[in-house]
């Protein structure tokens, strides 16, 4: 199981921001979505997910709202703020830079 430390440092924030970029999601859905898209490679534990969400909220990159889910139960939905969108762009750019660089190194013959 992938522990948060297995993730490249700081990438959890990027994953969360990216995941909720299109539409607001609650914590469970965010974890599931990341798991699904990564084809089960990334499993976000509750112990890292919620502190991360609260940290992003404190940074005012994401904002929370209580809304009913499909089953009618209330859940806390997170969505990007304007500052969050900017932050996502920044983090995406730096991720691309970093991953390209790493690829160059590891793929060198």
């Amino acid at each position: 199981m992938a522990k948060p430390t297995d993730l490249v440092q700081g990438t959890l924030d990027l994953l969360i921001l990216k995941t909720i970029a299109r539409e607001p999601k609650h914590g469970w859905a965010i974890a599931k979505r990341i798991q699904q898209i990564s084809q089960e490679a990334l499993q976000i534990q509750q112990g890292s997910l919620y502190p991360a969400l609260h940290r992003l909220e404190q940074q005012a990159w994401i904002k929370a709202e209580w809304r009913p889910t499909g089953t009618g139960r209330m859940a806390k939905f997170y969505s990007l703020t304007r500052a969050g969108k900017k932050q996502l762009e920044k983090e995406l750019a730096s991720w691309v830079r970093l991953s390209t660089a790493i690829n160059l190194v590891v793929q060198e013959n």
Binding site: W28, G47, P51, Q58, W61, A75, K76
Partner: protein, 905 residues
């Protein structure tokens, strides 16, 4: 705005804590439930699903704490928690809390109050632009002990021309032979009043660098042409007088009656403008009688200069010193010039000090002494509280160790300890500040006239910062003490010892050390106070040279404009004669300067067949006492040789004079002064010519300029014989009646003579004396209060420490009693402990007193700083206090019931 969002979130976490917690709980619960659902849908039974979910999730609580930490308001929450906890635990122990807060309030309050005086009087720069450039010049005659005298008019003019260091030099006069008075009669509407005045020249105002609020200053033309018989009728008003008496209405260019003459108001001074704390209400142009203005021997002007930009005080001093080397040669005269080497009695030199130094000069030592004294009180307070905090920390050690065992971090415990103490110190600080405000207000109200620069004294920002700093410092210190004790020893020991508390040797040494410190400081304070009390006693009982019992005095000033010296004399004559016929009045006289606190005259007086050390035939006489009526009989001054003035003298044409013992001894040593002749300048007392006067008697010395000052040379001029009088006279009546009973009669008689004359300063001579020794008395009273406080605190400290030791050793005492020790033995043993500590404290305190000797000596009078009687008295007092403080704990120890104590185990 992200920033705003962040703040909103923080505030929400802080103030809607319950809701935020509920939301966190609900959010995690939702996740948990989703997990269970997922497990069920993958085929587990509900129980299995729940267990699996729980395993996966682990400690829910831990996540919650992590999320809470992210809110970043934990430290505030902890603080609030600490504060709540502190309030609860303090409220449980109100006596302890009250003692701590009150003691702290006294310590901080006294320090803040004295510091606000120290700051306002000594530290704060004077209220002029670039105050460091302002210098005050004085004439000093080391041989006769004459210090801080004025300069003569020629000296002043010459110095202005000779020097190159000063940008502007000006002069002022507030009394004496300058023919100005420090107060004038002013009529506002139909209301006659007496206001404080000063005579200044235009250069002085330039030197001070102040601008008029309205109108203009005096011009050079108006203040340096000393001709005619009266100064030009112009004046400036202080802002305060203008607003209070004239309601701030436009006044410049209008006439106001001053000393019976209409004066044109040329300007209004800015708010708070003053010279040397004169509390000036009316500014008049400086004017000297042409005779006085040319006399080198008559010192009448106070001189203030402003240094040029870039010129330091040292440079100016060096230049002055150079001028003094050959002043006579530079101005082409041999007569009474200032010199660098004043050897003879007549010689004088010029001295320069900063204006601030000149203004606060002799008070600064007293204020520093008080600051040191309250500093000691604060140290005693701290030592006392440290002991209390120690005792409390020991009894709370279990609590702290337990909390550490349960996972509280050391930092968290320290924070709590500091929070608790900060609350105590904060409360003490706030209370202390209130106390300081009250004390400063009271001091200024009671002693305002005896403290310089009172307008600058107040609780302002620097003072507040000092109070805040004191409180915070103490809080930190005690927080560390209580934690240091709670944390150092091992957890296991503390828990094992149970509630008994530790009886570690080291801690008792610390406790005794603190107690010794308290006693030592208390000893120093009590010795200081005792010495000041003896000083005041010595000053109060000193023989000033006249009999001051049953004397009533008041002063009168005749307007210069409405009267010449002759009519003034007649008016005074009538007042004196009518007073003499009042029943209960035994004698009446009038004099120019009221002893024991009058300004010196310093008038050069030619003496027949006399040659001074410098070859001149005259000598400077310190005091001219111009008298009317039965002066020596009324004042009770013995004539030691020759005779007193008699009414037959008035008819005779040969003028007569009486001299003081000091004058006779100085001018005619080993000769009979009776029959010698002097020629006092007539201008100095209102006569037209200088004539030779024959000495007919020698009077006992009278202390003129402060009871602590040695008498100077003095001569007595009989105004009755000359038929003239200066404008201002002090009337003195020897009577069996108190001033209040005499007051209506005096008012009526003065009104009959001149209905526009106000009677000023009507009081008995005892209050004049009390006024003259008021400063040492304030010092003695304040030091007395501080010493009393120190004694009380030291007593509480001794009592507290001994009580603690007794409680700690109850078991041991019980066993010893059970084994046959007598109760008196136990009593003696505990008493001994208290007295040993006191003895050590006394020894250290005495050593400290010796070290402080220098600060104290110059403030004492008639008693040495090492006075054996005082020290013995102080040791006796301290010992008595220690005995009383030790008695109760010792008695309690001796009453310990072995049965009960041993059964408790």
């Amino acid at each position: 705005m992200p920033i705003w969002d962040k703040i909103r979130l923080r505030l929400r976490s802080l103030f809607r804590r319950a809701q935020v917690e509920r939301e966190l709980e609900a959010e995690l619960r939702f996740h948990f439930d989703q997990l269970i659902e997922e497990n069920i849908s993958s085929g587990m039974s509900p129980d299995e699903a729940r267990q699996a979910a729980q395993r996966l999730i682990g400690g829910l609580e831990q996540y919650k704490e992590e999320c809470r930490d992210l809110r970043r308001v934990n430290f505030i929450e902890d603080l609030l928690q600490d504060v709540r906890y502190a309030i609860r635990s303090r409220a449980k122990n109100p006596a302890f809390t009250a003692v701590v807060v009150i003691t702290l309030a006294l310590g901080i309050g006294a320090n803040t109050a004295i510091f606000s005086i120290l700051h306002g009087v000594l530290l704060r720069p004077l209220d002029y632009p670039k105050p460091d450039q302002l210098m005050f010049l004085t004439a000093e005659s080391p041989a006769t002990g004459g210090t801080r005298n004025s300069l003569s008019a020629p000296e002043y003019t010459e110095f202005r021309q000779l020097n190159h260091s000063f940008a502007a030099i000006g002069a002022y006069a507030t009394g004496g032979a300058a023919y100005t008075t420090s107060a004038v009669n002013l009529t506002a509407g139909d209301r006659p009043m007496r206001v404080r005045s000063i005579a200044v020249d235009a250069q002085l105002l330039r030197a001070l660098g102040i601008q008029p609020e309205a109108g203009r200053f005096f011009s050079d033309e108006e203040t340096s042409r000393w001709i005619g018989t009266l100064p030009p009728p112009i004046a400036m008003l202080s802002d305060e007088l203008w607003r209070s008496v004239f309601a701030g209405r436009p006044l410049v260019g209008q006439k106001v009656e001053i000393e019976g003459r209409p004066h044109e108001i040329v300007g209004i001074m800015p708010r708070g403008a003053d010279v040397m704390d004169n509390q000036t209400q009316v500014w008049l142009p400086l004017w000297l009688h042409p005779n006085i203005a040319s006399q080198r021997g008559t010192h009448v002007l106070n001189v203030i200069g402003r240094l040029k930009d870039g010129v330091t005080a040292q440079v100016a001093q060096a230049e002055l010193s150079g001028l003094l080397d050959n002043w006579g040669a530079r101005v082409d005269t041999k007569e009474h010039v200032p010199t660098n080497h004043p050897v003879g009695a007549i010689d004088h030199t010029l001295q320069m000090r900063t204006l601030q130094d000149a203004l606060v000069g002799n008070v600064s030592r007293a204020i520093w002494l008080l600051q040191v004294a309250v500093g000691f009180v604060l140290l005693i307070v701290c030592a006392n509280l440290a002991n209390m905090v120690l005792a409390r920390a020991v009894s709370r050690r279990r609590e702290f160790v337990l909390r550490a065992a349960l996972g509280a971090s050391r930092g968290r415990l320290l924070r709590q300890a500091i929070t608790e103490n900060a609350m105590l110190c904060g409360a003490g600080g706030v209370l202390g500040l209130g106390l300081a405000v009250a004390v400063v207000w009271g001091l200024l109200r009671t002693y305002g006239t005896n403290i310089p620069r009172t307008s600058q004294i107040g609780i302002d920002l620097p003072v507040l910062l000092v109070a805040l700093g004191l409180s915070t410092g103490i809080a930190l210190l005690f927080g560390l003490i209580s934690l240091g004790l709670g944390g150092t020893s091992s957890m296991a020991t503390a828990l094992k010892e149970g509630g008994r508390g530790a009886s570690g040797l080291g801690r008792n040494y610390a406790r005794r050390g603190l107690l010794i410190t308290q006693v030592a400081f208390a000893v120093m304070l009590v010795i200081g106070a005792a010495l000041m009390v003896r000083t005041v006693y010595n000053l109060a009982t000193i023989d000033a040279g006249f009999d001051r019992s049953r004397l009533v005095t008041f002063s009168l000033t005749m307007p210069m404009a409405n009267s010449d010296p002759d009519t003034r004399a007649q008016a005074y004559r009538r007042v004196i004669d009518q007073l003499r016929s009042v029943p209960g009045v035994l004698g009446t006289t009038a004099m120019s300067g009221l002893p024991p606190n009058r300004p010196p005259d310093a008038i050069a007086t030619p003496i027949e067949n006399f040659t001074a050390a410098d070859g001149r035939h005259s000598e400077i006489i310190d005091y001219y006492q111009l008298v009317m009526g039965d002066y020596f009989e009324t004042m009770g001054i013995p004539i030691v040789a020759g005779r007193s003035f008699e009414s037959t003298d008035n008819a005779s044409s040969g003028k007569v004079i009486i001299v003081s013992e000091t004058l006779a001894r100085k001018i005619w040593p080993d000769q009979n002064p009776i029959g010698k002749r002097l020629r006092p300048p007539g201008g100095s007392f209102g006569a037209t010519d200088d004539v030779w006067h024959t000495v007919i008697g020698v009077a006992k010395d009278v202390r003129q300029r402060g009871v602590e000052q040695l008498p100077g040379t003095e001569l007595y001029v009989d105004l009755d014989q000359h038929g003239v009088s200066p404008p201002s006279m002090n009337v003195v009546i020897r009577t069996t009646l108190p001033p209040t009973a005499l007051s209506p009669t005096i008012e009526r008689i003065v009104r009959e003579v001149d209905s526009e004359l106000p009677v000023v300063s009507l009081r008995d001579m005892d209050s004049v004396f009390a006024e003259s020794i008021r400063r040492p008395r304030i010092l003695a009273q304040l030091l007395g209060v501080f010493a009393g406080l120190a004694l009380l605190l030291a007593a509480i400290g001794t009592y507290g420490v001994l009580s603690y030791i007794v409680t700690e050793r109850r078991r041991e005492i019980g066993i010893r009693l059970a084994l046959g020790a007598t109760r008196s033995h136990v009593l003696r043993q505990i008493m001994n402990q208290g007295l040993q500590v006191t003895a050590l404290g006394v020894i250290i305190g005495l050593a400290g007193t010796l070290a402080m000797n220098r600060l104290l000596t110059s403030l004492l009078f008639g008693v040495q700083a090492t006075d054996i009687v005082t020290i013995a008295f102080v040791i006796a007092t301290i010992t008595a206090v220690a005995v009383v403080a030790s008695l109760l704990p010792a008695w309690r120890a001796s009453r310990v019931n072995p049965n009960i104590v041993l059964r408790e185990e």
